[in-house]
């Protein structure tokens, strides 16, 4: 199926079209963030949510603060708008890096087999004996003193424990094509290992992994937000949806008075992840009708 056909089906399916429109909307918000929510003059970092006073009581939405303020008077609207950029960075960079690491290692293991394969698969097993979120929490907590309380500590943590899924998938798929005639033909023709892997094996083995990856963008955004929510992600006051929602934890008994702390950023993150899931779902149906409905565990 050509790229053009895939795109055509993505744009004609109402569900994936909804997803695409949502993603475009979020992309526009991210690009025009400095216009929609201009950072205050002399701001050190535009990702820091501006504060309007130091009162410890959250303020409801008003004409100055469209989505209200959290305790410490951080402007929620500003945080939600700039948080869009954080979400794009987290989702795309983490997915790209995990896929790159996982596919590289999985391909090498399946291509050379033997000792490399054995060692790698044992390492994968050890990494996977940890529940993913628990492992990421530990890693992020350890990385924070090293990498600071920006977006890098939680992102690296997700990458370190995320690549194993793709290593497994890629390994399995490469194993299934490495003995095909065209690979043998290339070898007989004198092609080098690298060329065989990049030109002959990967293009024929990579699709299932890409499908799973496209569905995982949303999952990584959720995990990133969860780390921030638990306090091992970005620092307090950084424009990140999970971090804003974490403010709600101090107000649980009176949460119905301060609904705006959860509802606005919560809506943003849900719609953002929903958009990627809608597209990923359709993408998978198009590429592999057999996999319809079964998500890689």
């Amino acid at each position: 199926m050509t790229i053009r056909q895939i795109l055509k089906r993505l744009f004609t399916n109402p569900l994936s079209l909804t997803g695409i429109v949502l993603i475009l909307f979020f992309a526009a918000v991210a690009i025009f963030a400095p216009v929609i929510a201009p950072p205050p003059p002399r701001a050190r970092d535009p990702y820091d949510m501006p504060r309007y006073g130091y009162s410890s009581v959250p303020q409801p939405p008003s004409s100055e603060h469209l989505f209200g303020t959290t305790e410490g008077q951080y402007d929620i609207f500003y945080g939600v708008v700039w948080g869009t950029r954080t979400a794009f960075k987290a989702g795309l960079i983490v997915t790209a890096a995990t896929v790159l690491v996982g596919v590289t290692l999985g391909t090498l293991a399946a291509y050379y087999l033997g000792g490399i394969d054995n060692v790698l698969m044992r390492i994968v097993e050890i990494f996977q004996a940890f529940p993913f979120l628990l492992a990421a929490i530990t890693m992020a907590a350890v990385l924070q003193p090293k990498l600071g309380r920006g977006i890098w500590a939680p992102m690296v943590a997700l990458i370190v424990f995320g690549w194993t899924t793709y290593a497994r998938l890629a390994r399995g798929d490469v194993l299934s094509v490495r003995e095909r005639e065209y690979v043998l033909a290339a070898r007989v023709a004198g092609a080098g290992d690298l060329r065989i892997m990049l030109r002959h094996i990967l293009p024929n083995a990579i699709f299932p992994t890409m499908v799973v990856a496209s569905m995982d963008i949303g999952t990584y955004v959720l995990s990133f937000a969860a780390l921030s929510f638990l306090g091992v992600g970005v620092q307090v006051g950084y424009s990140d949806w999970g971090q804003i929602i974490a403010f709600a934890r101090n107000w649980i008994p009176v949460l119905s008075d301060y609904w705006f702390i959860i509802v606005f950023p919560g809506m943003a993150i849900t719609l953002f992840v929903l958009a990627w899931n809608l597209v990923g779902d359709a993408f998978r149906d198009i590429l592999d009708p057999r996999m319809r409905g079964a998500r890689g565990m």
């Binding site: 050890i126 004996a129 929490i137 530990t138 907590a141 350890v142 003193p145 008075d257 609904w259 899931n277």
Partner: protein
């Protein structure tokens, strides 16, 4: 099958060793100064206070020396007794829980287990039922509605859903409070004089065993929201897997044969198609259950349930290496045992599967 089980069990110690080395090396990325914070209870009065503490706990020893000490324990310089040592069955002292790690696990595990037990049955039951409905009405209205709900289930973060439920059902309506018990019930359960015995530390079961329906009802009220919160996401997953495997089963020849024999549609669906379609769900159900037992960090945090997940998150925030190692070992043990159980069950359900 027996050789398969034995082989899998033989791999277990290697995985445990690997996991402990992994966590250990992770935490050794931190400097002794960063790790000593856990042991410092107040601001040291002398300039070299922290230095002395680092020396006392051996935090600046070479990494292999520290790992060895965790494995076999350490002789106390003053009393001569041997402290710690995982190989002696001592997981060490948890600074986070303020008790030995073993005790902490014993205390926290029932909370996670109770939540898991209450969640898993409705979760699988409803997920399977809806998955079958979705498959039977493939591409019809019901199917579209259920698929939409399940995609939303994937997309709604657990912490947003949990907080929204707390906002409505606790903050607004006061129906379902957080934590595990109300104050009065806690006073009764933990009182040494009330004659209340904690058999399992699962509050609902204990309450029934003690014949206290009021405490049972209180515990139920506290567990309702976490169960719903935990179920929604995994319910979406179960529904989805059940739907696809049911669709697959309905296309099989034996279903056509059953219909051709003139069997009632209900029998065809329940006895022939659904039974076979359940196999992948059994695998996923097992994995979900094991995941629940190792602790669900977010749900336990939001509802302030003192379970395994919350302890783990607190330990990570404190960089409490001993607690983290203990919990990680326990988790990987659960994980490996759980996977093995699922594999074995799988061979029982599906005669085509041969374990080798």
């Amino acid at each position: 099958m027996i050789p398969y089980i034995i082989r899998r069990l033989l791999v277990l110690p290697i995985i445990l060793l690997g996991v402990s080395i992994l966590i250990f090396s992770l935490l050794m990325l931190l400097s002794p100064m960063e790790r000593v914070a856990l042991y410092a209870t107040d601001v040291p009065h002398t300039a070299d206070g922290l230095e002395r503490m680092i020396k006392k706990y051996g935090l600046d020893d070479p990494i292999q020396a520290q790992y060895w000490r965790w494995l076999v324990g350490q002789r106390d310089a003053d009393t001569g007794e041997i402290k710690g040592g995982i190989l002696r069955g001592n997981l060490g002292w948890s600074h986070t829980a303020q008790m030995p790690v073993m005790e902490a696990i014993k205390e926290r595990f029932p909370a996670s287990a109770e939540l898991a037990l209450f969640s898993i049955i409705p979760l699988l039951g409803i997920g399977i039922f809806l998955g079958v409905q979705s498959a039977l009405h493939h591409n019809q209205f019901v199917d579209h509605v259920l698929r939409t709900f399940s995609i939303i289930g994937y997309s709604l973060p657990t912490f947003v859903f949990g907080l929204l439920m707390l906002m409505l059902f606790y903050s607004k309506l006061r129906w379902f409070p957080p934590e595990r018990l109300s104050q009065w019930a806690k006073a009764m359960v933990f009182s040494p004089t009330s004659g209340y015995i904690q058999y399992t530390h699962m509050y609902t079961i204990d309450a029934l065993l003690n014949g206290r329906l009021d405490i049972f009802w209180d515990a139920i009220r506290h567990i309702v929201l976490p169960v719903i919160g935990l179920s929604y996401l995994n319910w979406a997953l179960t529904l989805r897997v059940m739907r696809s495997s049911m669709l697959e089963a309905l296309r099989q020849d034996y279903v056509t044969t059953a219909r051709a024999k003139g069997l009632a549609e209900r029998v065809v669906i329940n006895r022939h198609a659904r039974k076979n379609a359940l196999i992948p769900v059994a695998t996923i159900g097992g994995l979900i259950f094991v995941g629940f037992l190792s602790g669900v960090v977010i749900t336990e945090t939001i509802f302030n349930l003192q379970g395994m997940g919350l302890l783990y998150a607190d330990a990570a925030l404190n960089l409490d290496i001993v607690t983290l190692l203990g919990l990680a070992l326990f988790n990987s043990l659960l994980f490996v045992a759980g996977n093995l159980t699922v594999d074995i069950l799988y061979a029982f359900i599906d005669p085509r599967v041969r374990l080798s």
